[in-house]
Symmetry: C2
Subunit: 75 residues, 2 copies
């Protein structure tokens, strides 16, 4: 089955950028808080990586939101 | 940073089992519909795999729900 046209990667990227901006965090700060390498955060914001559920959970925890929030398009 | 105590893997597993059951689908049917190997579905339902965002999206698409629904605890 082909990948659906609505992209979960895109929604995640937009939410990372949005929530990180709301906190005034650079990619470096988010990387540090989530325990993930900074270049990896950049890759996620460019939709260039097939991130795992454990790392989505780490990112959500660092950003102070529930995990599912990162995959839901903001209103 | 350690893994948060609330487990995204657990929520995903419970949602897969719940939504698959609602459709009356076996693991085989879900595997076929999502284009994912059957043993992998079993692994996910046992929380034994660190599934990727692309595969979460494929599973949601097959089950007819939005991707974020699979990571949100059912009420």
């Amino acid at each position: 089955m082909p990948k659906p046209s609505t992209s979960a990667r895109e929604t995640l990227a937009l939410n990372l950028i949005r929530l990180r901006g709301k906190l005034g965090w650079t990619q470096e700060v988010l990387a540090h808080e989530a325990g993930i390498h900074r270049t990896y955060i950049g890759d996620l914001e460019r939709q260039a990586r097939n991130v795992s559920i454990d790392n989505i959970e780490r990112l959500a925890h660092a950003l102070g939101v529930e995990t599912w929030v990162l995959l839901k398009r903001a209103q």
